[in-house]
């Protein structure tokens, strides 16, 4: 792709009333939005006005934390199940892609292949699957396991899982529906996988015809080395937490190289750093908004947030305004632990400051021009092909982004003025 045909693309990472853990408390947040379908419909329509490529739903198959004193102060114990939410949205939206997270650790490939194929048919080609491996310990306990699969085994299972799902999507490649001859399909084209592997035995075929997109678009977020290898092999949109442009560029260059090494076209794989925009008329007003959110973060929540993202450490009794203690390596998400420990050490942060940096880590606060500048720089300097946008609270910051930042990006010729095609694949430029 040359510079002329390259366009910024966006997904919206939707988490109920906001992506910031204390965002639901903001006076302008719609604090009961989490299980309000009408709220999600309005949001999806707003995002369509902003020509977002995807409505993206994260997921954990458990409550998101087990310490009730902190959990009960967050919206992380009630979510719509993603496939049902996206299917419901498919009928009241027209253009936006519908991307749901589903774990390969506690699912069966037949169910997942089928549900995403069904969503792709319901939406006429707008489905995407964010492929994850499970790392939250509470998920294991909901499926009869004492603990999670070890890191590399989890990814081996994930790779086999995706292979089976793709083979199932291809298993009834076309239908005849020939009333005259009485053949619904030509038996010669049927291709049941007859898969017999390390983790799964799946005969097939799938009981739904090939999805309109062929395959729903595969999203992937692994930032660890194993995760990047997996992403390079399978992912089509890779989203990632990157603290600054230099590190985003390293990730971008590294993962695109791995994509090429895997024999795939790097231009057909998009890198989307996570970005949380807070727009205001002046830079000072935007910064004040960030401080407002910091102040809404309760002590218990701040402590748990740091602890849960570090894994094997107990912060109970540690002064929030004191330094971070030693943190051993564990069987959790390594990339996130390394990122946070590195940040705390480098900048000599207290636990509370680390919590604020974490919750505000992807926040870009500024005027519409400043936010557009930031997006443009990352895009032109090859740190990003687009962004997975999380709004700290909803709906305000999403309205601001759509009404102020997107038009500015359009003036600069960085985004397309309209949806290019009818499928998610087409609107991402993945053909």
């Amino acid at each position: 792709m040359d510079a002329v045909s390259r366009f910024l693309t966006f997904g919206a990472l939707v988490q109920g009333s906001g992506g910031h853990i204390a965002g639901w408390r903001h006076p302008e947040a719609y604090s009961t939005g989490q299980l309000d379908f009408g709220f999600h419909v309005d949001l999806a329509k707003l995002l369509e006005r902003g020509r977002f490529a995807a409505f993206f739903v994260a997921d954990v198959v458990a409550i998101w934390g087990h310490q009730l004193e902190s959990l009960s102060r967050t919206g992380r114990a009630e979510f719509f199940e993603p496939l049902t939410l996206l299917s419901a949205l498919s009928t009241v939206t027209r253009d936006i892609g519908l991307v749901g997270t589903a774990t390969t650790t506690y699912n069966e490939p037949y169910h997942i292949a089928r549900k995403f194929a069904s969503l792709d048919h319901l939406s006429r080609g707008r489905a995407g699957w964010n492929v994850v491996t499970s790392v939250v310990p509470l998920e294991a306990a909901n499926f009869g396991r004492a603990e999670h699969l070890e890191h590399s085994l989890r990814y081996r299972r994930a790779a086999e899982f995706v292979d089976v799902v793709r083979a199932l999507w291809d298993s009834l490649p076309e239908v005849l529906r020939d009333k005259e001859s009485g053949r619904y399909y030509d038996p010669d084209v049927l291709a049941p996988p007859h898969h017999d592997g390390e983790h799964f035995t799946v005969r097939g075929p799938l009981n739904i015809s090939r999805p309109p997109q062929g395959h729903p678009v595969l999203f992937q977020a692994g930032s660890s080395a194993t995760g990047q290898d997996f992403a390079a092999r399978y992912g089509e949109v890779l989203f990632t937490d990157q603290p600054d442009l230099a590190s985003a560029q390293r990730f971008y260059a590294g993962v695109k190289r791995k994509v090429a090494d895997a024999g795939r076209d790097p231009d057909r794989v998009l890198v989307w750093p996570v970005l949380a925009p807070l727009v205001a008329d002046t830079e000072a007003a935007a910064r004040a908004r960030v401080r407002e959110l910091d102040e809404l973060l309760h002590d218990d929540v701040a402590r748990r947030l740091v602890q849960d993202n570090l894994g094997e450490v107990d912060l109970t009794g540690h002064d929030l305004d004191g330094p971070l203690p030693e943190v051993p390596e564990g069987n959790r998400s390594k990339s996130r632990r390394d990122l946070l420990v590195g940040l705390a050490r480098r900048e000599n942060l207290t636990i509370r400051q680390l919590a604020h940096r974490y919750t505000g880590g992807s926040i870009v606060a500024g005027t519409p021009e400043q936010v557009a500048d930031r997006l443009e720089t990352w895009f032109r300097e090859r740190g990003a092909d687009g962004f997975n946008v999380t709004f700290p609270y909803l709906p305000g910051p999403a309205v601001d982004f759509v009404e102020q930042v997107v038009p500015e990006l359009r003036r600069r010729g960085l985004v397309r003025a309209d949806y290019e095609g009818t499928t998610l694949r087409a609107n991402l430029g993945l053909g």
Partner: protein, 440 residues
């Protein structure tokens, strides 16, 4: 208020009849065409049906390609829970029931999916709990053969109890969303399940507020001894394939007595026998529609269907002009197998004759609106049914005819509602909202 019929519309787009997709008036791809399915659901909603109801298999049955390539529904249909979610957004009053197997699912996923659907639909969802019947499903989940009948029900009972326990994770008023105090939910309103049983170990809690209905309505269809026991303990809607009135009365009395023996109010369990219908302005018109439909059935499919009813037997290896020999007891549906034998023995029919007869006689009641209403009324008034699971041979034709002709006749007799009175599926069915923590 006088007792009214409850009706669910059992939809298998493009129709229950295996050759329905070939019908000249049918969209053969309706199984994966949302606009079509939504139109069917809206027709049922306009007619004030209690619910639409979708069957399910998690695989394609093990049949020859020669047979499978001539049928539609098992090869090319929406997955029911995603379909239900889409229908929730496209309808406003009608109940939405989907089938999901207890054999190849995990209770946490299933509890969550149906709770999510109940929130999306503001309390209109039901779960038809089935134990999987088909070896074509087993092979998609790493099992070589199907789990034995009794084991399947033991797992189903435990599965159900875990699902209900998960739905009760949060108190109805646990979520406060109080931004001033910063309390999103009241921790005292949360209870983890901590289930450790023979088949499942599930910590909980569920990651969603208690469903608007408390619990989605539980539907069950088992007719065997184990199935009846399960239904009597937990089901709120029971449907059966019983076709004659005497057997239907026996089933009705038996299941209600069993429910009472479990300490339940028999009125909190609605028996809705399956009723396949084809009607027309006149009897001749209705019969002619049925004849048209029959001509569409390929003989290969008729023979395979007979084999399926017998428990997955390949009948092509047997002499078509010989009698049906004794076959091993089915590990699938024993009730269906017994019914085929009863008919074979009663008539001394050959396999070929039996296949033709069974494919032609779909169990569909063909008649005028008055005849069909008479039959429904008789079943309803004489202790055989609280309503019906209405099956439509092809769509939308037979659904349109039923709602246009039979429903008004039922209303004239005061047997069916003219408007929805409540908001939830429980309201439509006259079922109480379960208290949290009560074990059925």
């Amino acid at each position: 208020m006088s007792r009214k019929l409850h009706l669910t519309a059992f939809l298998k787009p493009p129709g229950e009849y295996l050759a329905a997709w070939r019908h000249p008036e049918v969209d053969p791809g309706a199984g994966v065409d949302f606009e079509s399915v939504l139109a069917f659901a809206r027709t049922a909603e306009d007619a004030k049906f209690d619910a639409v109801f979708f069957a399910d298999l998690v695989g394609v049955p093990l049949e020859s390609q020669d047979v499978l390539s001539r049928v539609s529904v098992v090869n090319d249909s929406f997955e029911p829970t995603t379909l239900l979610a889409a229908l929730a957004a496209g309808t406003s009053r009608i109940g939405l029931i989907a089938t999901a197997s207890t054999t190849y699912n995990e209770p946490y996923h299933l509890a969550r999916t149906f709770a999510s659907l109940d929130h999306l639909s503001a309390g209109r969802v039901g779960w038809n709990a089935v134990t999987s019947l088909n070896d074509g499903e087993a092979l998609n989940f790493g099992r070589s053969a199907h789990v034995a009948h009794a084991d399947r029900y033991a797992r189903a009972e435990e599965f159900h109890d875990v699902v209900v326990g998960l739905w009760d994770s949060f108190a109805d008023d646990a979520f406060r969303h109080d931004r001033d105090s910063g309390v999103y939910f009241d921790p005292d309103g949360l209870r983890s399940l901590r289930h450790k049983g023979e088949h499942f170990s599930v910590e909980g809690p569920l990651n969603i507020a208690r469903p608007p209905q408390g619990r989605p309505v539980v539907v069950q269809a088992g007719a065997s001894e184990a199935g009846r026991r399960f239904a009597a303990r937990v089901a709120e809607v029971v449907f059966s394939g019983v076709r004659d009135l005497a057997a239907a009365r026996e089933f009705y009395a038996d299941i209600k007595a069993r429910a009472a023996a479990f300490g339940r109010d028999p009125g909190s369990l609605k028996v809705l026998p399956a009723l396949s219908v084809l009607t027309g302005e006149t009897r001749t018109e209705a019969e002619s529609k049925m004849d048209t439909l029959r001509t569409l059935m390929p003989p290969q499919v008729a023979l395979a269907h007979l084999g399926y009813l017998l428990g997955g037997v390949d009948l092509t290896a047997l002499p078509a002009d010989g009698p049906l020999p004794d076959l091993p007891e089915s590990n699938q549906s024993r009730t269906a197998q017994a019914e085929v034998y009863r008919r074979a023995r009663a008539r001394g029919a050959t396999i070929r004759e039996l296949a033709a007869e069974i494919s032609a006689d779909t169990g569909t009641v063909v008649g005028t609106p008055v005849e069909i209403a008479d039959r429904m009324e008789e079943w309803f008034r004489t202790g055989a049914a609280d309503g019906f699971t209405v099956i439509f041979p092809y769509l939308p034709g037979t659904l349109d005819d039923f709602t246009r002709l039979v429903v008004p006749e039922l209303r004239r007799r005061g047997l069916f509602r003219t408007a929805y009175e409540g908001a939830t599926l429980r309201d439509h069915l006259g079922l109480p909202r379960p208290e949290r923590g009560t074990v059925p």
